[in-house]
Symmetry: C2
Subunit: 120 residues, 2 copies
Amino acid sequence: MTDPRENGFDLNPKYDAAGLVTAVVTDGLTGELLMVAHMNAAALAATRSSGKATFWSRSRQALWVKGETSGHTLAVRDLRIDCDQDAIWVIADPAGPACHTGARSCFYRRIGPDGLERVE
Amino acid sequence: MTDPRENGFDLNPKYDAAGLVTAVVTDGLTGELLMVAHMNAAALAATRSSGKATFWSRSRQALWVKGETSGHTLAVRDLRIDCDQDAIWVIADPAGPACHTGARSCFYRRIGPDGLERVE
């Protein structure tokens, strides 16, 4: 494997046709998966410079500082990128529920044998 | 909020235009983020019935039982779905490195202030 994107140390995100990469947020304390969203180059730059997780809202077509209205910001503890640089792992300390429904994590339902089940 | 997709208990994934949802895999033991991939309906069904994480390979346009050639399968411990049902969390026990590069996790590089840094 000699693909510099995979083995090198230059940040070179592989944005999709819409200019986005997937962003996965886990809780720095508990390790729980909190949410999955998207970043464009501006969102990634804002996340790195501000230390607050910032995404691209596909529905609003606008930069979205997570928690800017709710106060439930995500303070970035660490940022990682995957092998082909099309996904970013945000390890963060949440200031409140990550989900707009009020749940701590967006993943509040288990896929059981007969449908969904509430967890937590 | 009265959206049955968000508050209900029917599994009703919101597939994108390509028929896919995002699938995020964490290590059931360590909580580490291992990989991000995609599932279509057939991949999700196969994952549920076999207990082995199965994805849709966008590059090969084929079902992809993770580890079917390498042996590095992902035994599913739990499956969760997010609020709008467009992302699935696979909590799994890996039989070997999750990344095709041989790293335990695909997220083996930190985004540092001056570029990428190897972690682990």
